[in-house]
Assembly symmetry: D2
Homo-oligomer: 495 residues x 4
C-alpha cells in the first residue's frame, strides 16, 4: 500500500536519539486540567514534570468557552512552552496536554498530540499514553467506509471510531469507541463541556486524579501534581472512565470490574522516583528492589556504585542492606543533547563517555558492585564495565534491578524486537562473560513483586503486567498476530 | 460552532499583503504532468510561470511507482522549489502542483495544496483552482456521517466525497463526487495509475492540455507550457474530464454539453499577457480593450500613461488607436515584498509610493490619459491620481480597461464584498469627483466582449462569466444564500 | 596569506544570483537623514526605493542622542525593515543606511554596511557606494602598524584610516583618511553630532541632497527623495564634503575643484528611470539614447520590442523616433527569486524563460527590432534571440542602447574580467553571427554623450567616466596594478 | 561614552537563565589539540565534557595548513557540533575551542570565542578562561592609538596588545601582551605553526596538559582528557607558557616563579567531580569537605539529604563520616531548559519545583540534614527548605559545604555584587532565621583548606585564591578601582 512522504509532516524526523541509550522507553505522558484560570500554564508545568516520559514533542489544547486553541511543538516543554506569548495563545480554563517519546516511525508534526477533530456535535481533543493493539485492523475497516486518516497515530483511530459511532450522546460514542479497541491506554480528552479520562480495563498505564483549589487534574504521575501544588486524590481505576464537568466528577465502569495489571516496569525505570503510581512511591520500591537484590545475590566488595541516574535508588538500597559504602564511581554528564557525533572509527568507542565517565580515584583497586536498572541490548553494559575496568577496578560485580527482559512490549513502550533482547539470546553465564563481569545477577520475578509490595507473583493471575519479563501478555495482540509490520507506516498522510 | 486555532497550522497567517493592492486576485494555478522523468522539476517550472495566480504558498506531489511524495511550502515557488535537494525529495514521473493566493482566512499549512488522502483503494492527491459554492453544505452532511475534516479548504470536501462514494472504480467515484458539487473549478488529480483533469460544466476557470515529447501536461495557462518547452494541444472543454494513463488520454463528458462561460476577468487582469486562455492571446485582447476604450471614450491629450504593469497592454492599445504617444510616466518598483511599514501617520500617505513613483519630467505640464485595468475599492486610484497631479500633470483623464466592478465573485477569486466595491456605491460622476480626475470612462460590457472576439454580449445566454460586472452568476450559490459567512472558517482543524 | 572561513560570517554566502543575468551591477545605494523623528523609517523607505542598487543585504544605523543602534540583515529591505518592532529598535533622529549588491566574495554578515567603530573620540558609522582602488595596499600598511581588520570591506579600511589619523577634530581625521584613498565613492557617515557626506574628486558615484520639512537627506538617487516626499535640493559636487549638524550644513572642498567625470553607465542601466542623477532625468536620457540609436542605425521593421525592463525606455525612444510601433513581444516574470533550479541537462536551456517569455502572437511573422541596454557576456542575448526566433519572428535586428562594453569597472561595479566581455573578444560582425541576428548595432560613444546632453565626447578631458567602453580610467588603480587578486579575500576575519 | 546596539551581535541576548539558580558560575572552558587528524571532533568532545563550565555558546577554530576555519554557535556543544557536516567544515590537525557561560552583558555573537585576528605576520586564534582586571584601562589606551574594537570581550584586548607589540617573533609579542595584563587567565591560542597555552602567574584558573597518541592536548579539566581517551600528563604551572610545534613542546616562564593561588571554588562547585584539577580529584575533595563539615558541625538526625546534584558528594562524605543514612529526599529534573514560565503570580512560587521536587515518602516525619555546596543570594535555600518542610520534615539542619561567600569574584566568574551576597549582609543566626532552618552551619575556611589537602590556611601567603570567602584578592583590580562599571559594555561594536 502506498505511503506519502510529506516534507511538512517529516520536519522532526531524524531527531531520534543518536546515543546508545540501552533502555526501554515510555512513549507518553498526559495531563488534563478542568476549571482553572491558569489551565495552559499548569499544563505546561505538568508536562515539564513528566518530561522523562517523552522528550520528542509536546502539545497543549485549551478550550476558552467558544474556541479550541492548540500549540504543538517538537522538542522539550521548557524550550517551547515557557514563553508568556505561547501561553497567551492558549486561553481558557480547561486544557489537556501530551509529551511524546521519539519513535522510529511516525514522528511527523501531524502526529504530535493532542489530536483534534471537529465532529458534527462539536470539537474533541484527545491525548493518549499507551498503544491500541488492533489499530491497524480498525483503521482498515474505517477506511473502507470512507474515513480519511491524516496521521499514523493510533490515537486518530480512536477519533474516527468516535466520529462514526451510531450512538448519540458524546460519552456513549466515546465508550462505544473504547469498546472496540484492544491494548493499554491512559487517555485524557477535552470537549466543549467535559474533561474525560479513561484507563484500559487492566490499568496497565497509570493515570491519577488530583485537586488544585477545586480544579480537577488528571495526569500520568503524581510528580505532575506536586509541581503545580495540587493534592493527590486517587488513582483512576482500571477500566474506569471519569467525566468532569462544571457539575463535578462522574465515574463510569462500562467494562465491569477487572483485576488490575499495572505495568511493573513503571517501578523499575519509567516513572520518576518522587512519583506515586498505583499507590506506591517509586523511590521506595526501587530502594526495596536494591535491598531484595542484596539479599538474593550478595557479594563481598568495597563499594556499591550506581550507573547513574537510573541505577542510583537501587544502589542506595543495596548499599544500605549490604552495609557496603555507596560511592559515585561513575559521573554522568547531563548536558547531552539529542544526538552527538562519533565522527571517526578511531573515536567511536568513546560514545559511552558522552554520558558517563569513570571516576578513577574512587574505583582504582576496588572491588565494585555495579548496580543498573536493566539490560536491554547489552551494548551499554559492555562499555560501562570496560570503562570501569580501565579505571582500575579490581573486581566488577554487576547487579541488575529487574529480571531479564526477554520479551517486547506492545503497550506504548519503545522496545527492540525480541531477537535484539540480549537476555532472550544468552544464558546468565554467557551474558556475564559477554559483558566481562566477575559476577552477574538479576533480581528474581518474585523479588520484584516483593519489592512492589506483593508476597509473590500469583502465576495464575499476576498482579502486574510483567510481559517484558515473562511473555505473559494481558490483552490480545491483533495487529502483531497479523504480522503486517510495515502497514502502520502506510497511514502517514496529510491534508 | 467552535473553531481550533492551531499554531502549526497558522504559521503562514499574517503573511497577507499589507499593500493597498486594489485588484481582484485569482486564488490558484494548477499544473500536472504524466510520464516524464523530470516531473517534479517541470512542475516547479510550471508553477513558477503561474506565480501571478498565487504567491502565498505552493506544493507539489509526485508518485514514483510505489510511494507518493509531497512538498508544500509557504512563499514563492522560486524560493522553495529551486534547490536540487528539494526536487530530489520528489521522485517519480508523474506530478501535480498548485499555487495559492493568500486569502484572509484559511492560510494554514494544512491548507496548502495539493491535498492527499489514502483511500481504501489507494492514494489520491488533488489540486484545485476555483471554488465549490456548496462546500459548507456538503461538509455538514459529511461530518454528520462521521467524516473528520482537517483543513478549511473546499478541496478537502471533494476528497471526502470521493472517499465516501458508493461507486466502485475510482473514476466513477470521482465523477460521483463532482456531480454533487456546484461552482467553478479546474482540477488536476493524481492516483497511482492516473493523472486526471476536470473543468466545471461552464468552464469558468481555465485548463489547457500540452504535450512535451509525448508526456501529457495539464495546466491553467499556456505560459506554463512555454516555460518547459511543451506544445499547446487544446483547451480542456467545459464539463470535460480527461483521464491520462500509460495507455493514453481518454475524454469523458459526464455532464453533457454545456454552453461555455469562461471568466472574462482572466482577460482583463488574471492571466499572463503571453498566455493563451480559452483560445485567445491575453496581450492581444488587452490591446484590443485599449483600442475599444480609445474609440468609446476619446479625449484630447499629450501622452498615454499606464498604471504599470497591469494597465500597460491596454495603454499601448489605446495609444496606438488614438495616435497619442505612449510614455512611462509612472515607474514601478518590483522589489516590494509581502508587506511594508507605514510606521507613522506622517508618512502613511506615502504607501502608494512603495510600488509606484511619478516620473516628473514626463508628466510636468502635460495632459495625461491614465490607463488602469480596473477600479475595485478606489483607494489606489485616488493616490495615483494625486501623485500624478503633484508631479505637475495639467490634466488627468482616467480610462479603465473594464466595465465597473459592481459584484463579488464566488468562483475562487478574492474580491471584497459588494458594499466595498466603489462602483457599486457611486455613479460615474461621483467616482470621477472622488478620485479627482478631469474625466473618467470605463469600457462598456459590449466593448469588452468585442475585444474578446464576440460581436456583443448575448444577454439571454452570455458567452462569458461576467458576474463581477453584471451580477449574473452562472451557477447556484448555495452557501452564500445560506448566508453563514463565518462557518467555513470553523472547519479549521488539525491532526 | 591565510584566510579564515567563519560560519557566522558566511551565512549569506551562496545566495548569489543563479540566473544568467547578463548585466553590470551596481554595488550599493546609500541614504542618510539628519534631524527627523522618523529617521529609521525614512531610511527604510529610502533604501527600498534604492533596492535596484543592491538586493543582497541592507543595514541601518541610528543615533538617539546617547547610543547608536544597528540593524543589518541579508535580503530585501521590504522583507527585513518593514516591521514596526524592527523600526522600534532604531530610535533617534539621525540615521544612515546602505543596500549591498551580492558580490562573489565578501558576502559575510560582518560585511553588511553601515560599518561602525568606536574611536577614542566617539562612535562613527559609515556606508559607502563605490570602491577604494588602493584598499589592499592601505590595509597592508595599517596591519603592519597593528590594526586588526574584521571584514573584507574596503569601507573598513576607511575606518582604520580615520582611527589612526594623527589629526584632531573628527572632520580633519576624516579628510586625512579620504586624502589617502584612491577610487570612486559616495559616502554617508554618522557621528554623535554630525551627518557627513562625501563624493570622490571626480564625482563618479552619485550623491544628492534633499530636504524634508527642514531635515537634511543625503542619498544616491532622487527616487529615494520622492518616496519620502522630500524636495531635491542639489547634487553633492565632485570632491565635496558636506557636514550637517544641528546648526546647518557646511560644504568643504579639501581637494580643490576637479572636472567632473560622472559614471555614464548610471544613465545606461544602474539608476532608476524616475531618478535625477547628475542633474538629468534617467528616463529622458534613455529615450534620447533610443532616438540616437534610431538615427545612427535605422532598419526597416514591423515592430520595436524591448528586452524588458531595462531595454524599455530606449525602445520607446527608438519607436517614437523611427515611427515604428512599440510592442511587448517579450513578457517578463517578476516573481523570479534569488536562484532557480535547472535541475537536468534536458531542461537547462530553459533558464532564460524563468525571467522572459516570447509572446508568439506579437512576434510571429514580424520583422523585429529588439532593443536591449547592453551586452556583457552575450549569453542572455543569444538565448533571447533564439526564443524570439522560435516564436516565429521573420527577422531580428538587435539594437544596443550603449557602446560595446570592452573593459572592467573598478569603481564599485560588479563586472566580469575583461576576457569575459564578449565585445572585447569579437568584432561586430562576429558578435552578430554569434547571437544569430540579422543585424546588430551599438550606440556610438558620441551618441551616448549626445543623449546625456553633451555635444560629443571631449577626448582630452571626457565629461563622464566611460572606462567600461573606452578603458580610460579616471583614477589610479593601485591594487589592480599590483595584481594580487586573491589578497582582498584574505582579510575575511572575525571577532 | 556611546554604545552600539546591534541586532546581529545581540541575537543570543535574552537567552540568560531565567531560573533562580543560586550559584557562582564559571565563565569558560578551553580546549586545544595539536597534531591529530580528528582535531575538530576531539575539540567538540572535549568541549562537551567541559559543558558545565559554560552553556551559553561554543566555538572551535582549526588550521588546516593553509586556512583557518571557524564555527561559533549559541547553545550547547551537543546541539551545534554533533553533525558530521559541521565537523567537516573544520578541517585540519590543530584546533582550539571554547565554552562560554551566559553573562549579563556581552552575549553577542561577536563575543563567542575563539576570537581571531589576521596580523601582518599571520593569523592568530585565541580562547580564554578568566578575566583581565585592567582590560578597560588597556582598551582605552589602545583606542587612543587607533585600534578599533569589535567585541566587548577582554580577550580582544589581548589580541590588540599582540597586534601592536613592538617585539618581533610572535611568541615575544605574545609575552609582551601578557606582561601588560593583570588578572586570572588560562589561555589557548593557535597560529599557523603553534598551539600555545598560558596560565596567569598565580595559576588561579586551571589548565592541564594531556597526550593522545603523541598529539598534545591543553584543556581546563582532566574530564576533557578522559572523554577522548587522552592521558593526563601534568598541570600547566602558574605563570607558565607552553609552545607546542611540530618539533615538540617548549616551556617558558617569563614571569619567574610565583607562589600558586589556585581558585579553591573550583573544588567547591565549578569543576566536575571526576576531574583532577591542581592535582586533586574533585569528588574526593568534596567528600572530604562533607566529612570536615560533619566533624565541625555535627547534629543528631535521621537522614542526610543532598540538594542535588552539586551537594551530593559532600552529602555522601557527611553521611559516611557521621554514620547517618544518605537518602534522595529531593529529586532533580534534568530536563529544565534555559528558561521557563512562571506566568502568573499564583503559581510563581512554584519556580523551584521546575528543578527540584521533595520526595515526601523519604522526608515525612524525619529529622533532615540538608547539604548544599554554597549559599549566594539565599533565595533558593529559602524555597528548598520550605519545600522540604511542606513535605513533612520534622527538623531541617542545613550544612553548607563552603565558608560564607562574602565577596565578589573578578577572575572570570559570574558573581553578584557584594551587596547581593546574603552572607555579607546577615549573621549566621539571621541567615538561619531567614531560611527557616533549625540549625545552619558553614564549613570553616581552615576546614576547606584541610579538605583540599593543606593543614590550614597560611594567612600571610594563602595557598589558594579564596577571595570570595575572604576578600583577599591575589592581583590588582585596576578596572574595578576605577569604578567605571558600565564602560566595558560601551565597547560593544560591530563591523
Amino acid at each position: 500500500m502506498p505511503r506519502l512522504y510529506d516534507s511538512v509532516a517529516q520536519q522532526s524526523a531524524g531527531d531520534v536519539d543518536g546515543l546508545d541509550d540501552d533502555h526501554f522507553h515510555d512513549e507518553c505522558g498526559v495531563f488534563g486540567v478542568f476549571g482553572h484560570s491558569d489551565a495552559a500554564a499548569l499544563a505546561a508545568l505538568g508536562l515539564h514534570a513528566l518530561q522523562h516520559r517523552g522528550q520528542d514533542a509536546a502539545g497543549i489544547v485549551t478550550y476558552d468557552g467558544s474556541h479550541f486553541h492548540s500549540e504543538r511543538h517538537s522538542g522539550l516543554v521548557g524550550d517551547n512552552f515557557s514563553k508568556p506569548h505561547v501561553i497567551a495563545r492558549l486561553p481558557g480554563n480547561n486544557a489537556i496536554g501530551h509529551n511524546r517519546y521519539p519513535t522510529a516511525g511516525g514522528s511527523g508534526l501531524q502526529n504530535i498530540q493532542p489530536l483534534f477533530a471537529e465532529f458534527a456535535g462539536g470539537g474533541f481533543a484527545v491525548a493518549h499514553n499507551g498503544n491500541i493493539t488492533n489499530a491497524r485492523s480498525l483503521t482498515r475497516q474505517l477506511r473502507e467506509r470512507g474515513s480519511i486518516f491524516q496521521s499514523t497515530s493510533d490515537t486518530e483511530t480512536l477519533l474516527h471510531l468516535v466520529a462514526t459511532s451510531a450512538k448519540k450522546p458524546f460519552i456513549d460514542r466515546f465508550i462505544d469507541a473504547l469498546r472496540q479497541i484492544e491494548g493499554a491506554y491512559a487517555i485524557v480528552g477535552l470537549t466543549e463541556k467535559k474533561l474525560v479520562g479513561a484507563r484500559d480495563p487492566q490499568g496497565v498505564r497509570p493515570l491519577v486524579l488530583g485537586d488544585l483549589d477545586g480544579a480537577y487534574v488528571l495526569t500520568s504521575e503524581t510528580c505532575a501534581l506536586d509541581i503545580i501544588g495540587a493534592r493527590f486524590v486517587r488513582n483512576i481505576e482500571p477500566g474506569e472512565i471519569v467525566v468532569i464537568t462544571e457539575k463535578g466528577i462522574e465515574s463510569l465502569k462500562p467494562f465491569g470490574e477487572n483485576p488490575a495489571r499495572f505495568c511493573v516496569f513503571e517501578y523499575v525505570y519509567f516513572a520518576r522516583p518522587d512519583s506515586i503510581v498505583s499507590n506506591k512511591n517509586v523511590y521506595d520500591v526501587r530502594k526495596q528492589i536494591g535491598a531484595e537484590l542484596a539479599r538474593e545475590s550478595p557479594v563481598e566488595a568495597d563499594i556499591v556504585v550506581p550507573v547513574p541516574d537510573s541505577g542510583t535508588p537501587a544502589a542506595i538500597g543495596f548499599a544500605q542492606a549490604a552495609g557496603i559504602p555507596f560511592d559515585l564511581g561513575i559521573i554522568r554528564n547531563h548536558y547531552v543533547g539529542r544526538t552527538f557525533i562519533q565522527p571517526t572509527d578511531a573515536i567511536r568507542h568513546m560514545g559511552v563517555r558522552l554520558k558517563h565517565n569513570a571516576n578513577r580515584e574512587v574505583l582504582e583497586g576496588k572491588r565494585i558492585i555495579l548496580v543498573d536498572d536493566s539490560i536491554v541490548r547489552g551494548t551499554t553494559s559492555l562499555k560501562i564495565v570496560e570503562m570501569v575496568r580501565e579505571a582500575g577496578a579490581a573486581e566488577v560485580h554487576m547487579r541488575i534491578a529487574s529480571p531479564p527482559t526477554t520479551d517486547s512490549c506492545f503497550y506504548g513502550v519503545d522496545t527492540p524486537e525480541k531477537s535484539k533482547l540480549i537476555a532472550a539470546r544468552m544464558s546468565l553465564e554467557e551474558l556475564a562473560r559477554y559483558i566481562k563481569v566477575d559476577s552477574l545477577a538479576f533480581l528474581s520475578i518474585d523479588g520484584l513483586y516483593r519489592a512492589a509490595g506483593e508476597d509473590a507473583r500469583r502465576n495464575d493471575r499476576p498482579q502486574f503486567c510483567d510481559a517484558c519479563f515473562t511473555g505473559d501478555y494481558p490483552t490480545r495482540l491483533t495487529d502483531h498476530q497479523e504480522n503486517r509490520t510495515d502497514s502502520q507506516l502506510s497511514l502517514l498522510a496529510v491534508v
